[in-house]
Symmetry: D2
Subunit: 291 residues, 4 copies
């Protein structure tokens, strides 16, 4: 299996590195060359452009968003370069509609498409402990399972249509944003009665809500520590919007999503777009006159 890996950002770089360590032949490309050069030292082949991947049997992309993926894979010729029978695994968080379109475009070229977005941040990617949320043809998934085994601790299958994994990823991010918002609202409530939000969140995240998402973001909220951002407010809003779009095309009302959207906008209007998306909690504080 010869893997082409496009998109060597915070997540992609360590993932490609893990594949090299596992013995795969990997051709890499990135818009800015540094991470590719670093991987070359590890044995990766440098692609001159996204189209310089003709010998790859598997294409993995993990690019910023729909637009970046479209530019690199369609605009700069990666898809066209692939041989018929190749497999494209898109591991980025992209919209459901875009997923459906890319599946179609790949199919037209005789390329199979798998959606495999991940749960986990940079350190988890580096440790090869991602949770990988996949959907696509079952036989195809079997074929590339060995890749997922290198990259993640567990691979989850959600169906044979790539759109299903894309939806699950957006739904998961919606769940995280909802948890942040709920912590923000509840913190504003208890602070209004002079209970420290750290005391409140500390109790909750040791008991009923003793889970990674709550512990991680609860600590950030308790300490008002929103920078450096692991995932920005702007990206948080983007993913809420993608969840809303996916919901809208199936007529699914999502009341909390509407609250999230408005509060992210409120935060962006106050200049907080580069903070970590946990800073959503500051909106409830500000609206209550606590800041």
């Amino acid at each position: 299996m010869h893997i082409a890996f496009l998109g060597l950002g915070g997540m992609g770089q360590p993932m490609a590195s893990n594949l090299l360590n596992a013995g795969y032949e990997v051709t890499v490309w990135n818009r800015s060359p540094e991470p590719a050069l670093k991987l070359a030292e590890q044995g990766a082949t440098l692609a001159a452009s996204p189209a310089d991947i003709a010998s790859a049997t598997v294409l993995i992309t993990i690019l910023a968003d729909d637009v970046a993926t479209e530019q690199v894979v369609l605009g700069q010729g990666a898809l066209t370069a692939l041989a018929r029978g190749a497999i494209w695994i898109n591991m980025a968080t992209v919209s459901v509609a875009f997923t459906e379109e890319m599946e179609r475009r790949a199919h037209e070229k005789g390329v199979s498409y798998i959606a495999a977005p991940v749960l986990g941040r940079v350190d988890v990617a580096a440790a090869g402990n991602l949770n990988i949320l996949t959907a696509g043809d079952a036989a195809l998934l079997d074929n590339v399972q060995e890749i997922f085994d290198v990259l993640g601790q567990k691979t989850w299958r959600f169906g044979d249509r790539p759109a299903q994994a894309a939806t699950v990823k957006l739904a998961a991010n919606f769940m995280i944003a909802s948890a942040i918002e709920a912590m923000g609202e509840a913190s504003a409530l208890v602070e209004a009665y002079d209970v420290g939000k750290g005391d409140f969140l500390g109790m909750l995240t040791s008991t009923l809500f003793a889970a990674p998402a709550y512990k991680n973001y609860g600590a950030m909220i308790a300490e008002d520590r929103y920078s450096p951002a692991g995932f920005t407010m702007k990206l948080g809003l983007k993913d809420v919007r993608l969840a809303q779009q996916a919901a809208e095309s199936k007529n699914v009302p999502m009341g909390i999503a509407g609250v999230l959207r408005d509060n992210y906008l409120d935060a962006l209007a106050h200049g907080d777009e580069k903070l970590d998306w946990a800073a959503l909690a500051t909106v409830s504080a500000r609206r209550s006159g606590q800041q």
Copy 2:
């Protein structure tokens, strides 16, 4: 220490039993006599009425709500019966305003008031593993800590005003209801793309959301198992309303709380008031045309 224990429902009965087992002298009363008779077999003294508790130095109440507490403690004379210097520990979930009023009323009688609502359901109470959320005068809390040690695995202190513990308890219930609603909305979204909500929630509650609140309610939602109710829809709505009232008196907007309120009302309008409050998730399914 002589304890009077009023309110022997699902929670109160095992809690009183634990106190008896720990060697305390306990006088008990309940509106319906059965649980009191059972505790009498264990050595409890039966009070003929809520006012028949004159020798108690500590009064513990865990009654249904504000109204029931007021009727029993004020209306039926429990408070008046207590000697000056006694301590009233209210372990029920009641409103913040009511907490403040009861503190005042107790003070007028020379009785100290502690708020100590709990996290945990019946089985947790029986095992003496409750999390006890307290607020009140620190010296008083020290005095009764031995009681909390019998009833719970951990006692949390949130300040010297009883209203603070009442607020924390309402905020915690708000967090649970928010988690249920988020799971309901996300489940409707993934189901619209033919992903089983059980698959989705199973993944989440094994990873980012591997916490008791999510595992417990996630399983109920996955299986559409809302009966018998551990805590009813009607009580869920009541607690959301109490959180909103507490927030309103301090000018704290809570967007998710408004969503919860409307969706609980939708469920009640459809006859679901006796289901477990996790049935909130059915509203998103119904609104999406999935039921």
Copy 3:
């Protein structure tokens, strides 16, 4: 017909004056004596207290809210003072639950109860041009129609249960608050594109929305003129809350009401409780970073 008139605020004073001008025998009382003294010059009899109205056959009250009405009519003895067969017309905006309770309390004393809240502000009251929203026994309403004819331009009947008129009044105030909020949100939107909100609202209120509620509040929003208040933010929030309570007891979700509630709280948290309730529009501007 001998009328006792309790509550001589901005609305009550001119209404009582109109009844005197129409030739009625009117006994008046107010917490602060000035307006009563003024009406005495016009021929009104001064009651020494709310209970000093024994000879009245009709009691009209238009007091600030539930609490003020309860204190004056029950607490200070007005209801007890009335003869059996008298009629109590409550023209204030009060809660539906309070209306039902007052109807019951009046009935126990052999007094009939009519709810007759009004639409229109002080100048409209002075001109005798109120719209009077009534509910109660039809024969009783016939009996006092002559009074309504003095006070208003039109009397509307909504049923034989006083709660029905109380509900209609709260629903009407909800409609006004919704219109203000919609104008606030839309103004924030157009201002974000450098369209003056005055130009936008001027166009709308000359065309599709050429109605008194829009013209009046639209002009205030266009000019940021929220003081002096015709009706304060605090009262606006109160009435939204009363509408929510009425809705809650019948399981009616009201999404806009939740938005209104949160935005009124936001405004109060920013110190705007004494502004006119049209200042609700400033919340959308602030949240958008326009102020």
Copy 4:
């Protein structure tokens, strides 16, 4: 002035007819030929395709939406056919982002772009009584004012950037949808107390809300008359979404818009996409268990 008129639907056909009646030379085209043939009898020139308009100095389009406009004007060559110096007046309701893009595309071709969406339905268009909401270069607007004078009773100018008129139109439609939703929620509230919504809305629309938008939609709601649709639920949702998108790109939270979106989705999930957008009011009734 030689006018090319593309898009002869319910609105476009009578508008083009009015221009012919006023003596203008008009070339017409429509996807389905019937309305064009009818106008030809009135003297219009038939264009063989959207590109067959080379001699026109003014292009007016009023097509269904962004996609239809793009297909006809860009895809089928209308814009390319125009001579440099021509003016394109887009009278459809389209998105703000699309407006900005079309302005750019027109500019590249040496064509000027004016946004001029309208308020008013088919009968108003036929009577030449539209309200025309314009934005664009002031001198250009002066040049085509004579056209607007034929089509409408009044032309409103909102600035020199076409996006401004597009925004105003979306904001106006948001206002209408908000009014419908408020009537729906208030109607559910009063109906829960057995007050007929027709009585309630009849009172309101004779008093505080005596405006065309309320009278028109209030009557439809009162009579549950949602078919035939003047403007469908699906289009209502589309315009709310466009308002949200315009708001989102400027960080403007709009709480009511979120409520509208969810309730339109609820209605579509229940099969009501072809009803008049006033059927939004049925969602509140259904959620309350009244239907």
